[in-house]
């Protein structure tokens, strides 16, 4: 990290010395290292690793903005990049909502020092999965992917801010001869602590649940959403509803409703970059410290997340949720649903007739404001009768409002898991039992 900060300071200096008089500017330097190993049927089918250092310059002259990014890092290339950003800025119209860049503050983060996993460490984990697949005679598909980001922000207000974080994920899908499939997936912090054996068996166990030939009636059902499915709801809400920009533009279900209590007490949602299941960046892309934000507290709509721009507009403080420029809307990257006090066993036992859903596939956001989503269930959808899982169902289509699903939450699991997001990041969530979940399509098996 020290080596990176030293380099980033030099690159920032190249950029900032070329900023014309009277301009405000922010330099963002990122060094990302990524590695992805994908496997299918005991073969590593694809791998991709890289390292890339990128410099992003944002300039602003009296409210007119210009942005340019480059990974050509010579002094002359950076000078050219600054010129391009300045040129862009001349053509921009004045943006009345520009609220300036961040100001210096004491950066009191505990320093981090960690390396991305070595290929042999990852192959060792995959080797264990392959052995189990062979022994248990199942086909296993999946991936291990790690991404380490070092971030440095400097601006003309003399702010210097940096941090590093990572996002490490494993996904395992088992498939058995009957066509049954099962999923297990986790976001993890250290590869040394990643125990792939129980995860592999978790997916195999699901795949082996025998199919039951029962048609599911369309309409509302009692449903248990496993952590993975619940985390996906958080993934969508982060996008559709939790930012001050969607709030302010009346695009969020929360718009105008802060302080109201649409959900039961057991629904608690925060954005928490400091949770020990994450190793997220603790600063945002304006260089500000991320705050832990309670979005929904005991069912009450409490807060949305801000960057400098939305904070000024709505007369409050930034919460440290800016995205990289040129994106102007804040975004909660570390949304999580907090655990409740029911065990999964008790939750299943409490259901006379219902459906257990492991995860979703291809969520389509039909109506952002109403949080209406549609999609299919996937890799472990089971029928629950008299408090027991009695068989596997074929995948079901559903269409429902996330808010309605949460309004009807009956129980929340006492354990949270970090789950890789389908499109971005990862979200922590427990399993939930909801009294209403609308199935809109089903097919009997065969």
């Amino acid at each position: 990290m020290d080596k990176f900060v030293k380099l980033a300071k030099t690159l920032s200096k190249y950029a900032l010395t070329n900023i014309p008089e009277g301009y405000q500017a922010q330099v963002m330097v990122t060094n990302t290292e990524t590695e992805t190993f994908r496997f299918a049927k005991n073969q590593v089918t694809q791998n991709a690793s890289d390292t890339n250092i990128y410099l992003h310059i944002t300039v602003n002259f009296e409210g007119k903005e210009g942005v340019f990014g480059t990974n050509s890092l010579s002094e002359s290339s950076i000078k050219k990049a600054v010129e391009k950003a300045v040129e862009s800025c001349k053509f921009s119209l004045k943006d009345e909502e520009f609220a300036g860049f961040a100001f210096p503050y004491e950066l009191d983060l505990e320093p981090r020092n960690f390396s991305i996993a070595k290929p042999e460490q990852i192959y060792e984990k995959i080797g264990i999965i392959f052995k189990i697949a062979k022994k248990e005679n199942v086909d296993i598909y999946g991936s291990i992917s790690n991404e380490k980001t070092m971030l440095y922000i400097e601006n003309t207000n003399k702010l210097q801010s940096w941090d590093c974080g990572d996002l490490n994920k494993i996904v395992i899908i088992s498939e058995v001869e009957t066509g049954g499939t099962g999923y297990s997936g986790r976001g993890y912090v250290n590869i040394e602590d990643l125990d792939v054996e129980p995860l592999t068996y978790e997916s195999i166990q699901k795949a082996r649940v025998p199919f039951i030939d029962k048609e599911i009636e369309l309409g509302d059902h009692k449903v248990i959403l496993e952590s993975a499915a619940a985390a996906t709801l958080m993934n969508v809400l982060a996008f559709s509803s939790f930012s001050a920009a969607t709030y302010d533009e009346n695009r969020s279900f929360m718009s105008g409703h802060l302080g109201e209590k649409p959900f039961p007490n057991s629904v608690n949602i925060t954005d928490d970059a400091y949770h020990n299941l994450y190793r997220s960046l603790r600063i945002d892309f304006e260089g500000n410290r991320k705050s832990k934000i309670n979005i929904v507290e005991s069912g009450v709509l409490k807060n949305v997340v801000h960057n400098i721009r939305t904070a000024k507009k709505m007369n409050t403080e930034t919460t440290g949720h800016a995205l990289p420029p040129p994106q102007k809307e804040p975004f909660p990257l570390d949304v999580m649903m907090i655990e409740g006090n029911s065990s999964m066993e008790d939750m299943i036992k409490s259901v006379d007739k219902g459906i257990y859903i492991t995860r979703f596939h291809y969520i389509g956001l039909v109506d952002e404001k109403k949080t209406t989503i549609t999609g299919m269930t996937r890799n472990g959808t089971f029928l629950i009768e008299n408090g027991e899982i009695v068989g596997a169902l074929t995948d079901l289509r559903f269409t429902d409002d996330i808010t309605r699903i949460l309004e009807n939450v009956v129980k929340v699991e006492d354990t949270v898991r970090n789950i890789p997001g389908f499109l971005w990041g990862a979200n922590i969530a427990p399993g939930i039992l909801t009294g209403k979940f609308k199935i809109t399509g089903s097919k009997p098996r065969g």
Binding site: D50, T51, F68, S88, F91, L218, V366
Partner: protein
């Protein structure tokens, strides 16, 4: 760059690799966006770097870096080699790839006006003119417009003895009007949803799509949708407009025909495919009217190129022939598995990603109907335009799409506009019920900028050519 890449290829050969390819990619982009009377974004960027792929003892290794000095290139090759060598220890499958003849040459986009030479000011004024027209329409709350330009320089060398260079220019854009009343949010986009339409050609493309002249109608339709009745829930004939039909092709034929998906390589992320290997030359995908090809040689195609990213020259390939499924989109590794030759569909989006099987330009060939006759011939139907939402299962079999706008057709006439139209179906059934395709006068090659696939995610540019088509007996709205 040629010297550098060929020297690296020699170093790779010294490591005793069975195959290696190396690509240098430099790309540049510019995005200009306005919202109402504000410039929302004037952004640009460039990136360059090198990606090395090696095949050692039947296992792949890939590493990429933006560090282009000697030390960086050496490190990059060593890391790729190290990954492959370690991977070979646990893999039980020995990868072999189709041999191809060495390729030499260069390829450039046919571009009259380089979009990067058009001033930012001119681009901004064009978009602001559009949003001004749209905001004047009473009821419009948000008006947006954006233009994107892209330039790619790609050099590729492989141990086959190939060295090729490609210079590609792309641009496009679109506008959007949003009308809001209470909880009812209605949107219209032109010429297509999301960021609009794109082409591998110059600024002349943006002049052709004429955003300004289409602003008024776009805004008026968004407002009219607030007043429109809800789309009925019923079974009827569905006519799909061209820009949305492009997405229907993309999701229900393009993705399931990717051979890596079929082989299970995507199961853990995007899913598998209902087009299992036994179905090639042996499965009725659609009606006899349905002919679909992959064609990376088309002028202006966002999926057009001279060579794919493992050196296979661009060529047209039939995927569906008179309704029969005849081929997949494939690569040098996957094609031999089905005893075919690669269709040249291995593509990378940026230097730091490995090639994976992608769509090229995947096109539905035109039929012989005029749109007017098709409407006249429809007793009870609905005509939908412009994608709003989509959802499809992991095998690409069951889907539900939403469009921005629709019109009911009763006794051969368009009668009224309806809002929030949805339809759902099962892929082979849906395409088997395709009974009419509009002729080449309405055929258009659409460009899509945002096809996401792979891990790490690669957002590819692909093309889809199509006119309009009719599908019989489709579930419209939600099944009651």
């Amino acid at each position: 760059m040629e010297k550098k890449l060929l020297a690296l290829i020699e170093q790779a050969k010294e490591l005793n690799v069975s195959y290696s390819d190396i690509r240098f990619i430099r790309d540049e982009y510019e995005r200009i966006a306005v919202k109402n009377d504000q410039v929302e974004e004037v952004a640009g960027g460039e990136s360059e770097g090198i990606g090395i792929r090696v095949l050692v003892d039947g296992a792949w290794g890939f590493y990429a870096t933006n560090q282009l000095d000697e030390e960086g290139l050496k490190m990059c090759l060593e890391k790729a080699y190290d990954i492959a060598r370690n991977g070979g220890k646990i893999s039980e499958v020995n990868v072999e790839i189709e041999e191809i003849a060495p390729q030499k040459g260069s390829y450039s986009t046919d571009c009259k006006i380089d979009p990067f030479t058009v001033s930012k000011d001119k681009k901004i004024q064009l978009l602001l003119e559009c949003t001004k027209i749209m905001m004047k329409v009473q009821g419009v709350k948000i008006a947006k417009g954006s233009l994107i330009s892209v330039k790619e320089n790609r050099c590729f060398a492989s141990t086959d003895g190939t060295y090729v260079e490609q210079n590609i220019v792309k641009c496009g854009g679109g506008i959007q009007a949003m009308a809001i009343r209470g909880d009812d949010v209605q949107m219209r986009s032109y010429p297509a949803a999301f960021d609009g339409d794109f082409s591998a050609s110059g600024w002349e493309f943006i002049e052709d799509i004429d955003l300004v002249s289409n602003s008024q109608k776009t805004a008026q339709e968004a407002v009219a949708l607030l007043e429109a009745e809800e789309c009925p829930h019923d079974v009827m004939d569905l006519i799909l407009g061209s820009s949305h039909l492009a997405l229907q092709i993309h999701e229900s034929l393009g993705h399931p025909a990717e051979l890596d998906r079929v082989l299970g390589h995507e199961i853990s992320l995007a899913g598998g495919s209902f087009l299992s290997i036994d179905k090639v030359d042996n499965f009725k995908y659609g009606s006899v009217h349905v002919n679909i090809n992959s064609d990376p040689t088309l002028y202006g195609g966002m999926g057009s190129y001279g060579w794919d990213d493992e050196g296979v020259p661009a060529k047209r390939a039939k995927l569906v022939d008179k309704g029969m499924f005849v081929n997949y989109l494939s690569s040098r590794e996957s094609a031999p598995i089905i005893n075919k030759k690669s269709t040249g569909a291995m593509r990378v989006t940026t230097f730091n990603r490995p090639p994976i099987i992608r769509m090229t330009n995947v096109n539905l060939e035109p039929g012989d109907w005029t749109l007017e006759d098709l409407i006249k011939d429809t007793k009870k139907g609905i005509y939908m335009e412009t994608t709003k939402s989509w959802s499809i299962d992991e095998l690409r079999l069951n889907f539900q799409f939403g469009c921005q706008i629709a019109w009911l057709i009763e006794d051969g006439k368009i009668t009224k506009m309806v809002k929030n139209p949805l339809y759902s179906g099962t892929t082979p059934e849906f395409w088997a019920n395709c009974d009419a395709i509009v002729n080449k006068d309405r055929w258009r090659l659409w460009g899509i900028m945002n096809c996401g696939k792979g891990e790490p995610m690669q957002t590819a540019h692909v093309g889809h050519g199509c006119s309009l088509a009719r599908f019989k007996n489709v579930q419209i709205g939600v099944k009651k």
